[in-house]
């Protein structure tokens, strides 16, 4: 036996097997009686069904010319472009045309006096399948053949195996070939030949997925499961294998979703941690800075759509600096207008930022409206790559994760390698001493507030392709962001990162088990317990107040 053949190998195997089963002589091309078919199609339902079943049955052996011809007439019948005049059938260019060509001879004739045959539901389905078979085998381009395959798939039980084998051997498009292989596989699963069945079961378990699992589970109802011990053990082994792979894949998917949620939390919370660590201001408007970032992204999208529609795909990238600056400027304005007067009064600044948050939410609601914004999805944030079993790496979440990673690196570089970062860290540790060294602490405050707000704006860009964007969206993130800051320790980027991963992951892990509300409650209770042990959080910067 070929080991680990995969889908293509499996098809090759089938082809090889079929060449043994069907000697070349049998494949000698049968000719189609065109006139008889045309007559039958113009006849009653029983005659139509019998003729079409014949076409389908012989499709593996028919000549390409006959198949193409049958496809044309069957499609004409489906589209009501077939007119029957006595014994002969006319194919029209469009429904209701006055002239048509004789289906059997190809001569042009007027339609006058002709009638359109009526199709029953069963006949329609049969004809769709047969016409699909014709398209799959003779279609000129990939799209036609794909449509044909899709039509066959709907009634796969009626499709002869030889037809699929013929199509697979002739097919040049790899995607379509894979699709054919999958279909041939499921056909082989219900094959009468036990060896072929076992091979099919093994091949299905090679590519585990939820669909493969349900396909294999369905075989348990098969009579062979009870009677044939080899079949039974092979099926049980395959099921166990697929089940394990699927649960690993699902686990990976949960982790992946948690990671992307954590990425956005991290971007929101990093700004919060810097601001709180530096100024002791609990910024309840941080969620609204996220919202502003998302709305700025929308603004960029609309501007690009109007000015340079050809560049629409690039709008997410163009929005990065715009969202950062917009949120940062709003933050700096709020700092200069309101918070500056409230330092060293934490309760007042907390209430003030809450007021700012309400003001921003309702301001946007009045200016833009409260509906969810519609975002175009450039190719780099839509779709994904199936990685393992049902686990698909979706580009939109990968975008958020990569974005957060870049933000993390830039934040660390700014904090660790620039004079501003050094000033921020010095003022965070000991404001009075930093002032004695000549650092303009008020200016540092303002820049840091702008920087922290800008980070939230970046979170707004990253979540546009994943979450819905509306004026109240910030509330979903601000509470979790605060938990991240408290858990991670104030004023540390690394602590924020670890806590964001922990809280994001915990939320996503618990949610499918007990629901979203319970997840929040459990995470909150866990944090409270943790803070009883370590009130300063995971990683606390030592400092004087």
């Amino acid at each position: 036996m070929v080991k680990g053949p995969g889908r293509f190998g499996f098809v090759a195997l089938l082809l090889w097997a079929s060449s043994l089963v069907m000697p070349p002589a049998l494949a000698a091309e049968a000719t189609l009686d065109r006139g008889a078919l045309a007559t039958a199609l113009c006849g009653d339902g029983a005659a139509q069904a019998k003729a079409v079943e014949g076409v389908l049955r012989n499709s593996a052996e028919a000549t390409s010319g006959d198949l193409a011809w049958a496809g044309t007439i069957l499609r004409a019948l489906l589209d009501r472009r077939l007119a029957c005049l006595g014994e002969s059938a006319l194919v029209l260019d469009r429904a209701g045309a006055t002239d048509g060509r004789d289906a059997a001879t190809g001569t042009a004739r007027p339609v006058t006096g002709g009638r359109s045959p009526v199709l029953g539901l069963r006949q329609r389905a049969l004809i769709e399948t047969a016409s699909g078979a014709a398209s799959l085998l003779t279609g000129a381009d990939v799209e036609l053949r794909r449509a044909g395959l899709a039509a066959l798939e709907r009634r796969i039980a009626t499709v002869p195996e030889a037809l699929l084998l013929r199509a697979a051997s002739a097919e040049s498009d790899p995607g379509l070939r894979a699709g054919l292989a999958a279909i041939a596989q499921s056909a082989a699963l219900s094959s009468v030949d036990p060896a072929r069945r076992l091979a099919a079961i093994r091949a299905v378990s090679e590519a585990p997925s939820g669909a493969a699992f349900s396909r294999l589970s369905a075989l348990k109802a098969d009579a062979a499961y009870g009677s044939d011990p080899a079949f039974r053990s092979a099926l049980d082994a395959a099921l166990a294998r697929v089940e394990r792979a699927v649960s690993i894949g699902n686990g990976l998917a949960v982790l992946y979703n948690g990671l992307s949620f954590a990425s956005i939390l991290f971007m929101a919370a990093a700004g919060l941690a810097i601001i709180f660590g530096l100024m002791g201001v609990i910024n309840l408007a941080q969620g609204e800075f996220i919202m502003i970032g998302a709305y700025a992204t929308y603004g960029v999208q609309e501007a690009v759509r109007r000015i340079a529609p050809g560049w629409l795909d690039a709008y997410l990238l163009a929005a990065i600096p715009v969202a950062f600056l917009t949120s940062a400027l709003v933050g700096i304005a709020i700092e200069a207008l309101i918070l500056r007067h409230l330092y060293r009064r934490p309760l007042m600044s907390l209430l003030a930022t809450w007021a700012v948050s309400l003001f921003l939410i309702n301001g946007v609601r009045v200016a833009v409206g409260s509906q969810n914004l519609q975002f175009a999805m450039p190719p780099y944030v839509s779709g994904g790559v199936p990685l393992y079993a049902d686990f698909v790496v979706t580009w939109n979440r990968l975008f958020a994760i990569a974005f957060a990673a870049v933000t993390l690196v830039l934040t660390l570089v700014i904090l660790k390698r620039t004079p501003l970062g050094l000033d921020i860290r010095a003022v965070t540790q000991n404001r009075d001493m930093a002032a004695c060294l000549g650092i303009r602490t008020r200016r540092v405050d303002r820049l840091a507030f702008g920087f922290g707000s800008g980070l939230a704006g970046l979170a707004g860009v990253a979540l546009c392709p994943i979450y819905s964007v509306n004026p109240g969206m910030g509330a979903n993130f601000v509470i979790d962001s605060f938990m991240v800051v408290v858990l991670g320790g104030v004023g540390t980027v690394v602590g924020t990162l670890v806590a964001a991963l922990g809280i994001g992951g915990a939320n996503v892990l618990i949610e499918p088990l007990y629901g979203a509300v319970a997840a929040k409650v459990i995470v909150l209770a866990g944090i409270i317990l943790f803070l009883q042990r370590r009130p300063e959080g995971l990683f606390a910067v030592r400092r004087r107040r």
Binding site: R425, A426, N430, M433, A434, G438, R440, V541, R542
Partner: protein
């Protein structure tokens, strides 16, 4: 022309007169020691010069005639008056190099910063410890780091508050050497210290404070001989 002039300075905390009409002048290039028993007002004097304590009356003038009593802490620091605190005040979570970088001050030109950093590292002998967080340094090293931070800003007036408190004899001797090396013609250094041997080793002149007033000013030998000084220190 003096580098720093204190003119009838009066600092009051409630009913307590910490400084009571104190006057003193430090020349450029001079190392001046201020000594006195606990509560004499030594640290209050430095607080007033650096803007932490606000005098009720009197003036603190820099060499260029600028009055520091009206300036903010940051402005005073930027004017070239730098202080090393009594308790080592470094940023424990930042590395030695970062601490020295902060010491350079915000007005230090970016090009000059690495030069000053290298010089401060060399003068304090902390080159090998440049990437260590300041919190991990020994007490003596922290003292030198803080002197280095003050130094990196190229101060015109250097205020040292008990630089050898809690140091071993070896470390004290090294600190005395370090302060000797910091002496420059355009720089005035004011040292507050209890350790008489150390004061004798580094100071050109000493000012003895008592109850917020000047008790004696002159050479250390003179202070040792002065009857009032002996009275105050021995509590007779």
């Amino acid at each position: 022309m003096s580098a720093l002039v204190i003119d009838s300075l009066e600092v009051v905390f409630g009913a307590f007169r910490a400084l009571d009409g104190l006057s003193l002048a430090v020349d450029p290039g001079e190392v001046r020691a201020v000594i006195g028993p606990n509560g004499a007002g030594k640290t209050t004097l430095l607080d007033a010069i650096t803007g932490i304590a606000r005098p009720r009356s009197g003036r603190i003038l820099l060499g260029d005639g600028r009055d520091l009593t009206q300036a903010s802490e940051a402005e005073i620091a930027r004017a070239g008056v730098r202080r090393k605190f009594q308790k080592p005040s470094v940023f424990p979570a930042l590395t030695v190099r970062e601490n020295l970088g902060l010491g350079c001050g915000p007005d230090c030109p970016a090009r000059e910063r690495p030069v000053r950093l290298a010089r401060a590292l060399a003068e304090t002998g902390l080159e090998a410890r440049a990437s260590v967080p300041a919190g991990a340094l020994a007490h003596g090293e922290k003292q030198w780091l803080e002197i280095g931070m003050v130094l990196a800003s190229e101060p015109r007036v250097l205020l040292l508050d008990e630089p050898v408190a809690g140091l071993s004899d070896d470390e004290t001797a090294r600190t005395a050497e370090l302060i000797g090396a910091l002496r420059r013609p355009d720089r005035a250094i004011l040292v507050i210290e209890h350790d008489m041997a150390f004061v004798e080793a580094v100071a050109d002149r000493v000012t003895v404070l008592h109850e917020g007033r000047t008790l004696f000013e002159g050479a250390m030998a003179g202070a040792r001989a002065d009857a009032r000084v002996i009275d105050v220190f021995l509590g007779r």
